[in-house]
């Protein structure tokens, strides 16, 4: 199980995370980020890529 935490004060809704882990992150109709707070271990690589690619470095990943 992976916990995903996004600091919404840092998030500028650039949406780069969406390209790396589309099952976890998306931009809604208002172009704002929505995401799943928990994810299956199979998404680890994708979420790690999202953590790296976020211009604001707003994403945290916690492995449980």
């Amino acid at each position: 199980m992976i916990k995903v935490i996004v600091d919404m004060d840092k998030c500028q809704h650039y949406g780069q995370c969406v390209y790396e882990a589309p099952n976890i992150f998306k931009l809604n109709e208002e172009d704002k980020l929505e995401y799943l707070a928990t994810a299956d271990d199979s998404e680890l690589g994708n979420i790690q890529a999202a953590v790296d690619i976020c211009p604001m470095q707003a994403i945290q990943l916690i492995k449980e």
Partner: protein, 385 residues
């Protein structure tokens, strides 16, 4: 960042050998984009990357620059006299700020911005009400203009081109940026060169090419960068503009590529996968991240590890992306905009939010937007790389 991401990618791809990260700065890896923005405004801003030393298992040698590489002997020597031997070398030594040379080459009250230390010096020197002259109207110049205006400074930007950021984003986009800055009080002196600095012991102003002067309390040079590749000299590499690499990001010599020497990040000059154009460097933030992954795969492949879906002959072909935050403007782009021969407004309008397409003949080679994130992202997949 390039070095750190390479080490992380190596571990994630299964590399179990020794990794040493050698850095000139006395800091663990940190993120540079906030230096001209959040970190300049607020020293409490966290910019160091989260490091998991348990998974990374890498040695960090900080505050000690590489000064000489001997690729034949597979060694790197440092400023403080250490020598490291390697099986694989990844050069990710980045850029340093360019500094102009004037007849009256005063150094006091003169700043540039590349490192944490630069930002701290600048922050200490700034106070509200100060008059700041910024040389250069690129991304750093414009971001600094916005941040320093927020800090209460009166900012004058001086640059030789006609419109700030026109080279990066095209004229239409650039005019919007200039207008927004001017509405916040920034003064631009475009089509202007600086002839000399004014002052006796410290900078008091600048003398322009047309003979007029601009007073300032401090001067910031945001006039581009130099690649830190001198340490690679005398190894038959092409160091004319960064470090020349092949399609697999391996260093090139007249006798062929070196399978154990790579480049990552701002110094890495690499070929186009699908265009008959000279190899180029891309100074965008997402590039070292993509290069790190590729280099890690290539090293692991050479080590005989099982790297899924990887062939060393597949050309490295990343989609470049950059962003910039200036005042309430949030700019995002995809592609290599400089390839364009024409631009077209795709959506929105220049009075508000908009998306511009960048075309090379009929090919969409890039898109950039002011806001309108959702629309911008729909064009991303259409870009020819």
């Amino acid at each position: 960042m390039g070095g750190l991401r390479t080490a992380e990618s190596l571990r994630r791809t299964g590399f179990e050998g020794e990794i040493t990260l050698l850095g000139a700065e006395s800091e663990f890896p940190y993120n540079r984009p906030p230096l001209s923005k959040e970190y300049l405004l607020n020293p409490e801003t966290k910019i160091h990357f989260n490091l998991n030393h348990d998974t990374l298992q890498s040695e960090f040698v900080l505050g000690d620059a590489a000064v000489r590489a001997n690729l034949k002997e597979q060694t790197v020597s440092t400023e403080q006299g250490k020598t490291f031997t390697f099986d694989y070398l990844v050069a990710a030594t980045g850029l340093r700020s360019r500094s102009l040379k004037f007849e009256n080459n005063l150094l006091t009250k003169r700043f540039s911005l590349r490192t944490m230390s630069d930002t701290e010096k600048l922050r200490t020197a700034i106070s509200s009400g100060m008059k700041v002259a910024i040389l250069g109207a690129g991304f750093i110049g414009c971001e600094l203009a916005a941040t320093l205006t927020k800090l209460g400074c009166s900012v004058h930007v001086i640059a030789p081109e006609a419109i700030p950021l026109a080279l990066a984003l095209g004229e239409d986009f650039a005019r919007v940026i200039q207008r927004n800055h001017e509405a916040q009080g920034v003064t631009f002196h475009m089509n202007t060169s600086v002839k000399d600095l004014i002052g006796e012991d410290d900078i008091r102003g600048v003398l322009l090419g047309d003979g007029t002067t601009i007073d300032c309390d401090i001067l910031i040079e945001a006039v581009g960068s130099m690649t830190n590749v001198e340490w690679l000299a005398d190894n038959n590499l092409d160091l004319s503009n960064g470090l020349l690499l092949d399609n697999a990001l391996r260093a090139v010599t007249p006798k062929g590529s070196l399978p154990h020497v790579y480049g990552v990040g701002d110094i890495a000059r690499f070929p186009y996968a699908h265009r008959q154009l000279p190899a180029r460097r891309i100074e965008h933030w997402n590039i070292p991240i993509e290069m790190a992954k590729r280099v890690a795969k290539d090293i692991c492949f050479q080590e005989g590890l099982d790297v899924a879906d990887y062939s060393p002959t597949e050309a490295f072909c990343p989609l470049a992306s950059f962003w910039s935050d200036q005042f309430n403007m949030h700019i995002l782009s995809y592609g290599e905009l400089h390839l364009a021969t024409s631009t077209k407004l795709l959506d929105g309008d220049f009075d508000g939010e908009f998306v511009v397409g960048y075309y090379r003949d009929d090919e969409l080679v890039g898109v950039a937007g002011l806001g309108m994130r959702g629309v911008l992202n729909t064009y991303r997949a259409e870009i020819s790389i």
